[in-house]
Amino acid sequence: MTEPRSTQKRSSAVWLLSLMKPYRLKLLLAGALIILANLAELIKPRIYATIIDDFLPSAAGGAAAGAAGGFLRGTITGLGISYFAIILISAASSMLQSRIITSVCQKILHTTRMRLFSHIHKMKLSDLDDMGSGRLLTRATNDVEALDEFYGDVMSGLFRDIFLLSGIVVMMLSMNVRLALAGFAALPLIVLITVLCRGALRRNFVKMKAIIGKINGFIAESLSGISVIKSFSRTAEKCRQLYGLDRDYRKTTMFQVFMNGILRPVMEVVNSAAIVFVLLMGFKLAGAEANFAEAGVLVAMTTYIKQFFEPINDLAEKYNTVQSSLVSAERIRSLLEKEKDLERDEPNAYSGTIRGEVEFRDVWFGYDPANPVLKGLSFHVRPGERVAFVGATGAGKTTIISLLSRFYTVQKGEILIDGVNVNDWRLSSLRSQIGVVLQDVFLFVGTIADNVRVHAEISDEEVERALSLSRADSFVSKLPEGIHHTVSERGASFSTGERQLISFARAIAHKPALLVLDEATANIDSDTEELIQASIDAISRGKTSIFIAHRLGTIRFCDRIYYLENGAVAESGAHDELMQLNGKYAALIRSGKDEISVTPRPE
């Protein structure tokens, strides 16, 4: 991100254009159609001028009306019909053009969406965390929609506007150079007004958007904190805060109303001034040039001048759209460019059935490398053993889980599973064999069965078995639809404990070779608590299991306990041994009555 902004924007524009490459031919066709469609706009005034100049003056003057009447009448009809024909052609080609552009543009958007989606899947969790879910979501959705405007409105619009502008200039010059120049006299004024007013309007608009964003955020916050506001009787104060924000907002809107009220009408005054210039010049020329005196030319000129303002206005308005689409494009591009940071699932890497031997050898790791969480952690778990990690908050317990599944890579040392370094395992093979139960249970939209299966091919019977093993059947069986009960809003209808049990079932159903479980610290009532304890015991029996334990109930059936301190093992052994040792572990157990560590880990 060291590029200066202007270069960034330019390269984003280049990137956007490069996405269009596969559709070159179609776009070329669309371009041709745009020209065809807008030629009509250019020709229309000319036909009109021809009618007025070549046929009507004589009639208006009344001189040759009778003599040439029959013939002229026919020709006017002919011109009228060709006028309509031109409009038909123009309408048809502009229709076709916009269909082509739409098709191409939507395809590009689809491809971009898919690229982003798979990119997000391959991102390392550390990068994902850094970026934040909100921002990432914006990249994948809103920013892509913003490109729609770039391709749809801007690309075809820009091309049309430029073509029209230059077309009008050419047409005017070709009809009469001096009249044209008189018309252009107002041009500098238009540019000046546009630049000045639009700039002020844009700055004000940015301010306006910032304030309205604040206002909306404030309202949302107040609504979610309504019971606090009421409990403290602070309704009036909160209202006053909003009135204050709204006063600031009002000021910016007044400026906007004022400027908009000036800008458009002033442009029309300038427009009329240009027409007046043309008329005056026309009057002068009509006297000076023998072959002039043509009303049609004047009418055509004034029509062109009127047409001239539209694309200019349009361009000024599109400037904003282009800017914001380029910002979106830049964001998408910079995300997609980080390809080297992605995870790769090497098909040739080691894959095999995990026996369940886990070894950490002098592992150093920090989410921020300068600030290591694990400092030379070593331990060895043999197949079939159940071990627990305990220790104060921030000792690095949860980190162990993330490293085992290779969500992050260690900075120093080795992690071996079945004697093979996790970095040499094929990612998909490694992860699919490790059953991870996280503290923060995530439930997908779908039924309970879907959530246990997570798309794997597991029969209903097996799902039921897993649920009963995890003791989740105690509440699932009470639901009218049983395992086909739909989980609403990420499982909000279930208690923390119930969600935990579902996630146990998920781990069981996938028959992992290695079970890794981060116990919940959250408050769970005593009955559920007992259920969970029994469940953990049942699902881990005879299986290599690693627990990040917060409860004594779990610790007691473990073969070995590691007491972590400062990112390394300080004490290890069975519960009784450690109590006998009477060291830090024993002190920890005695200090807390019900839980070993109650402070939740920082998010």
Binding site: V228, I275, E530
Partner: protein
């Protein structure tokens, strides 16, 4: 709700509409002036030519002044309307009973506050203006064409125009329908992406990337098709209208040309007539948008109106009667249910004296928080069942009652302001007070470690702080108001044991002349209480002091045993 606004600002619409009509009328002068000027340029009558040319400029200036004028009167008023409506709506929302929020999602309310307020603003501004403009300029143009130029020419050339109207309205409806579907699809794909981001660990752990990709691809393709269908439909609009008006113009050119040649109308009128035809096309095209925004505005207005009609809490509850309230709480067979068939509390009785503490324990859903909601008058309480300071809570204005209560919610909700502002929360507490109570709440050390100290911003819902920190700041917020009654809803659940002990110790001295009710999952927080109630399924199952309850050997003792397992194993 709109009446008051119109009383204050409604007059703006009178000069607004007058200027709008004047503006349209002036605009319809332009084509004639142009036609005349061109005509005289050819005829070489300098004086007349100069007059007509000058009139073009004056017309432009007139349009400028009148247009600016109506925009100032009407559009400005619509912005006033936006602010007024939002302020009123917000005030109303905050004054609604809390029960309302359990049945309405705040996301919907946000949609009212943002989209509907905007739609109504447009209705009272641009939509109104465009409608008046369209109608008046249509009337003036057509009037000028038929009365001033040639009636039959006008009728013939305008023959195709109704077709344009049909297209605008009919096609407009189709475009609207398809646009809505495309927007719905956007929500679908957004939802999918969001779920994937949030559930990334699970997806990776279960190697579900390919499956998710395939599902998403289906949705993305559907979104692509939806967009395409929407754009395709709207791509018909412009060309069709242009064709219809092209037909009008062609008729005008041919028939009008012939009329000129017959000498029925002059060249100037011919030129003007064609300008009028172009002028008519824009109000017709605008009718589509006006109709669209009109629908949205009316729908938005109706939704806001319905919302504003929900009764607020009574005026009685909104004022402070300044009467002192002694910190005694008594419940007499208190029963309450959020809905009729499912009581949250049933026959709960207790009595809490000044200087005493009541502990409440029990499983989730036992009705513990409900009790607090009733004491705070967040929900209507049945008469004769709950008394504070000897008075039925129904007889104490909510504001008076709440000013005596320090409430610490379970989640420690904080506002996105500094820690200092959150603790002060509009009270007149000094900085020293704030620091003192943060110290009592055990936050001193944490704040000392923050680089910005008291000025640290808490973030949305307080998410820049940890759960335990949030709870302690919320505790200080309650204490700093020196309440008579303290309600602690599992306030220290995310605080570690040592800190909890220290805070409880601090609280003991603070509570000397006050009363306190503590809800807790952790028994350590209620051990010292003068009475402990075990609630389950809305009713009192056991009561007594800590030691009495242990002796009883019931639910409480069982809970205690579960939480004590570690030690007993020792």
């Amino acid at each position: 709700m709109i009446k008051n606004f119109l009383k204050k600002y409604g007059w703006n619409y009178i000069p607004g509409v007058a200027l709008m009509i004047l503006c349209s009328w002036i605009q319809t002068r332009a084509p004639l002036a142009l036609g005349n000027a061109v005509n005289e340029a050819v005829k070489r009558d300098w004086q007349l030519f100069f007059r007509y040319t000058l009139s073009i400029l004056f017309i432009a200036l007139g349009v400028f002044v009148t247009r600016f004028g109506w925009r100032w009167f009407v559009i400005r008023t619509s912005r006033e309307m936006e602010v007024y409506l939002r302020d009123r709506l917000f005030t109303h929302l905050l004054n609604l009973p809390v029960g309302f929020y359990t049945t309405t999602r705040s996301g919907d309310l946000m949609a009212y506050a943002i989209n509907d307020v905007n739609a109504v603003r447009l209705l009272f501004g641009m939509v109104f203006a465009q409608f008046i403009n369209a109608v008046s300029s249509l009337i003036f143009s057509i009037g000028e064409m038929s009365a001033g130029i040639h009636a039959r020419l006008t009728v013939f050339s305008l023959l195709p125009v109704p077709l344009a109207l049909v297209i605008v309205l009919g096609l407009g409806a189709l475009v609207r329908k398809r646009a809505k579907y495309a927007q719905d699809m956007f929500s679908v794909i957004s939802g999918h992406v969001q779920e994937n981001i949030n559930g990334m660990r699970v997806i990776k752990a279960f190697a579900q990337e390919d499956r998710q990709y395939n599902d998403y691809e289906k949705e993305s393709l559907e979104k692509m098709r939806a967009n395409r269908r929407w754009y395709f439909a709207s791509a018909w609009m412009d060309p069709l209208i242009k064709t219809v008006f092209g037909l009008s113009c062609a008729i005008g050119l041919i028939y009008g040309g012939n009329l000129v040649m017959q000498g029925t109308i002059g060249l100037n009128e011919y030129i003007a007539f064609n300008s009028y035809l172009t002028m008519i096309s824009s109000p017709i095209m605008m009718i589509g948008r006006v109709n669209n925004n009109l629908q949205r505005g009316l729908a938005g207005y109706r939704r806001i109106k319905t919302l504003m009609d929900v009764p607020e809490v009574s005026a009685f509850d909104m004022q402070d009667d300044k009467k002192p309230i002694s910190p005694e709480i008594r419940a007499k067979n208190l029963s309450f249910g959020y809905n009729s068939d499912n009581p949250a509390l049933a026959n709960v009785s207790f009595s809490l004296e000044k200087g005493k503490m009541l502990g409440i324990v029990g499983p989730t859903g036992a009705g513990k928080t409900t009790l607090f909601n009733l004491i705070l008058k967040l929900y209507p309480c049945p008469r004769g069942q709950l008394f504070v300071g000897g008075r039925d809570v129904n007889d104490i204005p909510a504001v008076s009652l709440r000013s005596k209560i320090g409430y610490v919610p379970q989640d420690g909700f904080l506002f996105d302001e500094s820690i200092e502002e959150n603790v002060r929360f509009f009270s007149d507490a000094t900085r020293e007070d704030i620091e003192r109570y943060l110290d009592i709440a055990g936050m001193k050390g944490d704040i000392a470690r923050m680089s910005e100290g008291l000025a640290t911003m808490c973030g949305e819902r307080g998410n820049h702080l940890s759960g335990g920190q949030r709870q302690r700041v919320a505790l200080a917020r309650a204490l700093v108001r020196k309440p008579e009654i303290l309600l602690l809803d599992d306030t220290l659940s995310a605080v570690d044991n040592d800190t909890e002990k220290r805070i409880l110790q601090n609280l003991k001295t603070e509570l000397k002349d006050r009363s306190c009710i503590t809800i807790s999952h952790r028994l350590s927080a209620v051990e010292a209480a003068d009475e402990i109630i075990v609630l389950d399924e809305g009713g009192i199952k056991e009561r007594g002091t800590h030691s009495q309850l242990l002796e009883m050997g019931g639910i409480y003792a069982h809970m205690y045993e579960l939480q004590q397992k570690g030690e007993s194993h020792d």
